[in-house]
């Protein structure tokens, strides 16, 4: 019974430790992945917007908007990019990738030719939109919408993988702890049985004479305690030894 309680306390300690590790590393993971992915995606979106802005100038000036559409459709296939649109210097639409139509929030909202804005588009999701001017803005601007949902998904995936790893380590640790605690608990149990045998030699016991001999021969603290117990028991039984 004492061993079980000892084991429970050890288990509780391990649970507590791993809980703290899991929570703290997950929080750190969320923060780090969110920050790094957001920075990376915004940087990628900006690069894509600038690339389109640079390569679309001739196309726009030639009024070849089907080629322009073909160009943005290719970039739209990149992971994380949910929409791209291009407007001219007057704000008139030149090309876009929206289906089934251009969201009202974008039609009526701010379409600044430069900078980054966060958008919540009902029916589409949440986005970070990066804009890049074409020919310093005199030929229009390119806008690239990055899906924030993808970042959330990547965070969930990273946390999931981390929790999976911690769970495996946790299970291995529990098995190891069980083995180690048993290793330590067994001689203590024998010591308990031995002291009970000294106190009441006639009482039933599972401890054999060989067990008692091996216990007394141990050179560790348990062996010392067993020998001290035997010594005290002998002194208690010898009248001359009483003060």
């Amino acid at each position: 019974m004492r061993i079980a309680r000892l084991f429970q306390k050890t288990m509780f300690g391990i649970f507590l430790l791993f809980g703290i590790i899991a929570l703290s590393t997950s929080a750190l993971c969320v923060y780090t992945v969110d920050r790094q992915l957001s920075t990376e995606y915004v940087a990628n979106s900006r690069t894509i917007a600038q690339t389109i802005a640079n390569s679309s100038l001739d196309i726009i000036l030639n009024r070849d908007l089907s080629t322009l559409q073909s160009l943005i459709d290719q970039f739209r296939e990149l992971q994380g990019i949910r929409y791209i649109y291009i407007v001219d210097e007057h704000g008139d639409w030149l090309a876009h990738t929206f289906v089934p139509g251009i969201p009202k929030e974008i039609l009526e909202g701010d379409r600044s030719p430069d900078g980054t804005v966060e958008r919540r588009l009902p029916g589409f999701g949440e986005f970070v939109e990066v804009a890049s001017p074409i020919l310093d803005g005199i030929a229009g601007s390119v806008h690239v919408g990055m899906d924030k949902g993808l970042i959330a998904l990547k965070i969930q995936t990273a946390i999931g993988q981390q929790i999976y790893l911690i769970s495996i380590i946790f299970i291995v640790s529990i098995v190891g702890a069980y083995f180690l605690v048993n290793l330590a608990a067994h001689p203590i149990t024998q010591l308990g049985g031995y002291t009970r045998m000294l106190a009441a030699p006639d009482a039933p016991t599972t401890l054999t004479a060989d067990d008692a001999r091996r216990l007394l021969e141990r050179d560790d603290e348990v062996g010392q305690l067993a020998r001290i117990a035997r010594h005290l028991a002998h002194r208690a039984e010898t009248p001359d030894s009483r003060p």
């Binding site: 030639n62 009024r63 070849d64 908007l65 089907s66 080629t67 322009l68 559409q69 073909s70 459709d73 090309a95 990738t97 929206f98 289906v99 089934p100 139509g101 251009i102």
Partner: protein
């Protein structure tokens, strides 16, 4: 040939192929061109740009075909054009792509392609002009969200702009949309715009689904489609939906065409087309169309037939020792060719489009017939 032989637009690729094969089979039966038979090596791209690029590389570099022919679609062709530029030293020319987009009609890619059909700009301009003339000035556009849709969208916008008008509204759909899908969201967007007419720039499955859902929602303004749609396939879908829903989805439709009606049997070329389609009953390309029922006649297969007829003329003039490098020169020399498209077909060094003819059709008694009087849609 790289075209859609599978997927939601397969009817276009298969019918274009069949129309061409009807003529080529007859030419081959009579000994070919300068003793050489003509063969179409057809690959399926499913109307997907990346597949079209892969097919073209294979055709040019592995199969070493003589020329590229009958490609289907704007998003596919616009991605293939840079390949032709890259391998310009091999002198490959793209003959008669089934698209009315601008990139292969203008520099820098114009010299790499030869077009027979009129452009989307011409088709949409004609539609806008006719409808505005009868008081339908609020024009909305339903279009495929890609280079094809954008090409038609630009055509409508420019035509409206020329008349001092702006687009009333627009809605898009994704390429590959099936007839079974709902297009209620697009209908709702356009309903809000309160249009007098809607011009659709799409393929038959999506356009038929849009017409069905628009009519169900009470949006009963005229809906016009351009030639790429595949009129017979569109009509067949609408007729099946009409029968199932017990309402007529085929009214108030206007389709522009770039070839004459196959019902116009007074025209010698139409009689020849019908005779050869019957005689040779061309099948879909090998390995495709197992669950597809070929159409007896269609605007698309007639276009394929005319493409083949003009190509044979080019190859005949090229002489018994065909040389790819001379193709463009031979094409530029073609003037006043009576192909049966209503007006002579011709090219020049600066003009790589043979025909400007547009024909407008509407549905009467379950088939497309020429529009003779626009006033029935007067507002």
């Amino acid at each position: 040939m790289s075209a859609a032989f599978s997927g939601a637009s397969r009817g276009l690729g298969i019918e274009l192929y069949r129309g061409s094969m009807a003529y080529f089979t007859e030419v081959n039966r009579q000994g070919g061109v300068h003793g050489r038979p003509i063969r179409i090596l057809g690959y399926d791209d499913g109307y997907q740009p990346n597949a079209a690029v892969q097919n073209t590389l294979k055709l040019m570099l592995e199969d070493d075909v003589f020329l590229l022919f009958n490609y289907v679609g704007t998003p596919t062709v616009t991605r293939v054009l840079p390949l032709l530029k890259k391998y310009e030293r091999l002198h490959f020319t793209l003959f008669f792509p089934f698209t009315g987009a601008q990139p292969h009609r203008e520099l820098p890619y114009g010299p790499l392609a030869v077009n027979l059909r009129a452009s989307y700009r011409q088709e949409t301009r004609g539609l806008v002009d006719h409808f505005v003339d009868i008081g339908r000035a609020r024009v909305a556009v339903f279009y495929q969200a890609d280079a094809y849709g954008r090409s038609g969208w630009v055509g409508v916008r420019e035509a409206l702009s020329a008349r001092g008008l702006r687009m009333a509204g627009e809605a898009t759909y994704s390429r590959g949309t099936k007839f079974t899908e709902s297009l209620d969201r697009q209908v709702a967007i356009l309903q809000e715009a309160k249009p007098d007419v809607i011009i659709s720039i799409g393929a038959y499955e999506a356009c038929a689904a849009f017409i069905r859902d628009a009519r169900k929602a009470g949006l009963d303004v005229p809906i016009a489609n351009v030639s790429f749609v595949g009129s017979e396939s569109l009509l067949a879908l609408l007729q099946s939906a009409s029968a199932a829903d017990r309402r007529d989805y085929t009214t108030n439709l206007v389709n522009s065409q770039v070839v004459p009606s196959y019902e116009h049997t007074a025209a010698p070329v139409v009689r020849e087309y019908r005779a050869l389609m019957e005689r040779h009953a061309p099948t879909p390309p090998a390995g495709f169309g197992t669950d597809y029922t070929p159409l007896p006649y269609s605007f698309v297969s007639l276009e394929g037939f005319l493409n083949a007829k003009l190509l044979v003329e080019v190859l005949t003039r090229l002489g018994p020792e065909p040389d790819r490098a001379r193709l463009r020169t031979v094409v530029a020399s073609l003037t006043n060719i009576e192909l049966g498209m209503g007006a002579p077909v011709g090219f020049s060094a600066d003009n790589n489009q043979g025909s400007d003819a547009i024909f407008y059709t509407t549905v009467r008694d379950g088939r497309f017939v020429p529009v003779t009087d626009w006033s029935e849609w007067r507002r």
